[in-house]
């Protein structure tokens, strides 16, 4: 091949490599960008006075005196709105008969308006306090409040007159329904004085992470889900890491050396007292045992590989069928059962990573330890495992990230949509909400999907931060320990 051709090939190869890296980076940005920007919105947003009221009432946060002042001011600003509504209400219900008949047509639009105003500002004056927490307050977030105000100002309609096209959205000013009534000025006033009525203020709401949810995530935070994910991940790691590491040690240090059969046959004396024939019988038996052990080890290896390829939903079903219904690890779904299922899921990864790490420990370390008189176990414990630690830790932490994000295995074994934060003891027997499952529920099955977009994004954001954080920890730990080992 000519030099120029080789150079061209080389350059195009580099180019393709660069291009694919760039493409991957862009895709990552494309995915993570919106999640981060919108997810942050769950924590940092403009809170309205309604949010402050909620915090004080339900969570005793904030100063009652300041809030009382504020509430007085917003009530003043809201007064004209309430007055207009009351005036029309009055005309419909308690005016002279002729007037009542004339205004009856406004009953329905007024009810609609009252409902929207309630949603925006909270219960109207004189109404009893609603039972549902969400209805006790108006819009707590300024972005939602602005949307709600738009709904008050305009009626959204779709024009389906042209059958060949999708419905065309039309915004009709709601004020037209109320021409000539006392409510007519309300709309202009609302449009201009919305800020004074809600007093939005930038805030960092850390409670999104650490508060209980109210009314299925309409208000409050996502603490039970975060705690549940924490328990599940930690439990999975506590169960899987020791098992995985021990299995890896067996595969590398014992599996290839006929450990079991050697141990077994060392119990049978070879002594001179036994006749010649029985010794050869012993040798033959030993050979069979060695072969059996080899077959077993390669079977085990195949099993581990297969386990790594099993779809996660199958693990979930296994957890339900075996852990819960057969051996009754817990009577219902529980964190324990979920952790055990996740542990099974990440076990192959941990075994593989640990195996690699242990295999890559230089043989000279083994020789040095054995040469000094260390037995097999001491060699493994004092030399090989410490030297393999960076690799083992990396594998373990990365599989923790995997366990934190898995949904399918916990559907049947651990996750519920709503629940309280559990104590570690309760975790043995009770189910918990967990981030991946809550994300699914909130984005598909929630009654008011579009009102809790910020919670959906916030949860995804927290989950991704959690997983990225774990991976980052793995990288740091690995670098640290590797530096220490390198000297």
């Amino acid at each position: 091949m000519r030099l120029s051709t080789r150079k061209l090939l080389d350059r195009s190869f580099t180019g393709v490599g660069l291009f694919s890296i760039l493409l991957m980076g862009l895709a990552l940005l494309f995915i993570l960008g919106p999640i981060f920007s919108k997810g942050v919105g769950a924590l940092v947003f403009r809170q309205t006075v309604e949010h402050r009221r909620f915090l004080l009432d339900k969570l005793q946060r904030g100063s009652p005196k300041n809030l009382a002042d504020e509430v007085r001011q917003v009530q003043e600003a809201r007064q004209p709105v309430y007055a207009d509504i009351a005036a029309l209400d009055d005309k419909i219900t308690s005016g002279p008969r002729a007037e009542r008949r004339q205004y009856r047509q406004y009953q329905e639009p007024l009810n609609e308006l009252k409902k929207l105003v309630r949603e925006l500002l909270g219960p109207l004056p004189g109404e009893s306090v609603p039972l549902i927490t969400t209805e006790q307050y108006g819009q707590t977030r300024w972005d939602r409040a602005e949307k709600k105000a738009q709904q008050i100002l305009f009626i959204e309609e779709y024009d389906y007159s042209d059958p060949t096209k999708m419905g065309v959205r039309i915004l009709k000013p709601r004020v037209e329904q109320f021409r000539g009534t006392p409510v007519e000025p309300l709309f202009d006033y609302l449009n201009q004085h919305l800020e004074e009525m809600l007093r939005p203020r930038w805030t960092f709401y850390a409670g999104f992470l650490f508060d209980m949810p109210f009314d299925s995530y309409m208000l409050g935070g996502i603490w039970p889900s975060i705690l549940g994910t924490f328990y599940l991940t930690l439990g999975a790691m506590l169960l899987a890491a020791p098992l995985g590491i021990v299995a890896a040690v067996y595969f590398v240090e014992y599996g290839d050396e006929n450990f079991l059969s050697s141990q077994l046959f060392s119990l049978i004396p070879r002594g001179k007292s036994t006749p010649e024939s029985s010794d050869s019988l012993r040798d033959r038996a030993f050979k069979i045992a060695v072969q059996a052990e080899r077959n077993m080890v390669s079977m085990l290896r195949i099993c581990v590989s297969t386990l790594a390829g099993v779809p996660s939903i199958v693990f979930g079903l296994f957890g339900l069928a075996f852990l819960i219904q057969t051996i009754h690890l817990s009577e219902t779904k529980s964190v324990l059962a979920g952790s055990a299922t996740l542990a099974l899921l990440i076990l192959p990864t941990i075994i593989r990573a640990s195996e690699e790490a242990i295999r890559s420990v230089p043989h000279s370390y083994r020789e040095a330890a054995v040469g000094l008189g260390a037995g097999k176990w001491r060699t493994i414990w004092t030399v090989i495992l410490p030297a393999a630690l960076p690799g083992i830790l990396t594998g373990t932490i990365i599989s923790m990230g995997r366990a934190a994000g898995e949904t399918a295995p916990i559907i049947f074994t651990a996750a519920v949509s709503l629940g309280t934060p559990l104590s570690p003891l309760q975790a043995l027997s009770q189910p918990t909400p967990a981030l991946p499952w809550s994300i699914y529920v909130l984005s598909t099955e929630h009654a008011a999907l579009d009102q809790i977009r910020h919670v959906q994004y916030g949860m995804v954001f927290v989950l991704i931060l959690l997983v990225l954080g774990l991976n980052f920890t793995a990288i740091l730990l690995r670098a640290r320990i590797a530096r220490k080992l390198r000297g």
């Binding site: 000279s364 083994r366 020789e367 330890a369 008189g373």
Partner: protein, 283 residues
């Protein structure tokens, strides 16, 4: 031909091994004794291939014995058999007798751990653990149950002094051993082997991975340890064998061809093969 051989032997003058008499005796008094290694009709097999055949040798105690021979002649295999390092290789097994002070090394009931405590080993490539200097030296004593920090400190200092490394590392005992030079690492490995107070020290080409300067230091060290330990050293370097050893064994194709006093073997070899090898006709 003889003249070229005179050179290395001349270098073996006592000048290069001027051992401080007092320190030598103190070392000697601590060592529990100098063990005799004896092989009788000893075979080592890898699977069915005999790597060492029919070796009969008696390695004198308290002396430095060099094993020379071309690559693949079984000299390392034989050396490793003395503290049963070959146990790490599953297909390896032995026949015949190899004994330490009259005790069969391959007896089924033998405690391998205490054997390896009596017979220390230094490997071709320096192989300190990725731990601190202190932990490296203390590894052996800890294995045998020494827990007291003060005792360990004493052992570490004594071992490092014996390995002529103390002055270089005394301020950096907590530093990772892998941060030191190859020569220092190899002396550290020697100190580590000495820390369990062995009677025999096996060295498998201890200087082959080192530069000439470090090699010289290792050789000096061997000279200093002479008398206190039974030292068996495998080397490719015939000058080195001539410089450091009292006795030399020549292995060829798995068999012991000739064994005798170094001076005699290098000047008046009895066997033709030995002469051919040391004069550089092959190998």
């Amino acid at each position: 031909m003889q003249a070229t051989l005179e050179q290395p032997i001349a270098m073996q003058a006592p000048v290069s091994y001027r051992v401080d008499a007092s320190s030598a005796t103190s070392v000697r008094s601590e060592s529990t004794g100098k063990a005799v290694i004896a092989a009788e009709n000893f075979f080592i097999y890898y699977g069915t291939h005999a790597a060492v055949r029919e070796v009969t040798i008696q390695i004198p105690p308290g002396k430095v014995t060099a094993i020379i021979g071309p690559s693949g002649c079984g000299k390392s295999t034989f050396l490793r058999a003395i503290n049963r390092m070959n146990d790490l290789i599953p297909s390896c097994h032995t026949a015949g007798l190899l004994s330490l002070d009259g005790v069969d090394i391959y007896a089924p009931r033998l405690d391998v751990v205490s054997l390896r405590q009596r017979v220390g080993m230094v490997f071709q490539k320096p192989n300190p653990f990725p731990k601190s200097i202190f932990d490296n030296i203390a590894y052996g004593p800890r294995l045998f149950g020494v827990r007291n920090r003060r005792v360990l400190q004493e052992i570490v200092e004594k071992s490092l002094r014996r390995a002529a490394l103390w002055d270089e590392v005394k301020d950096r005992l907590d530093a990772n051993a892998l941060g030191f030079s190859g020569g220092q690492q190899q002396r550290l490995c020697i100190a580590r082997a000495l820390a369990v107070n062995p009677e025999v020290l096996l060295m498998d080409e201890p200087a082959s991975a080192l530069d000439p300067r470090s090699t010289a230091r290792i050789e000096d060290l061997i000279g200093e340890l002479r008398g206190a330990y039974t030292i068996v050293i495998v080397t490719h370097n015939m000058q080195q064998a001539a410089r450091v050893s009292d006795h030399t064994a020549f292995f060829y194709e798995g068999e012991l061809v000739e064994f005798g006093a170094t001076r005699k073997l290098f000047t008046k070899p009895e066997k033709k093969a030995t002469e051919d090898y040391i004069t550089g006709r092959f190998g």
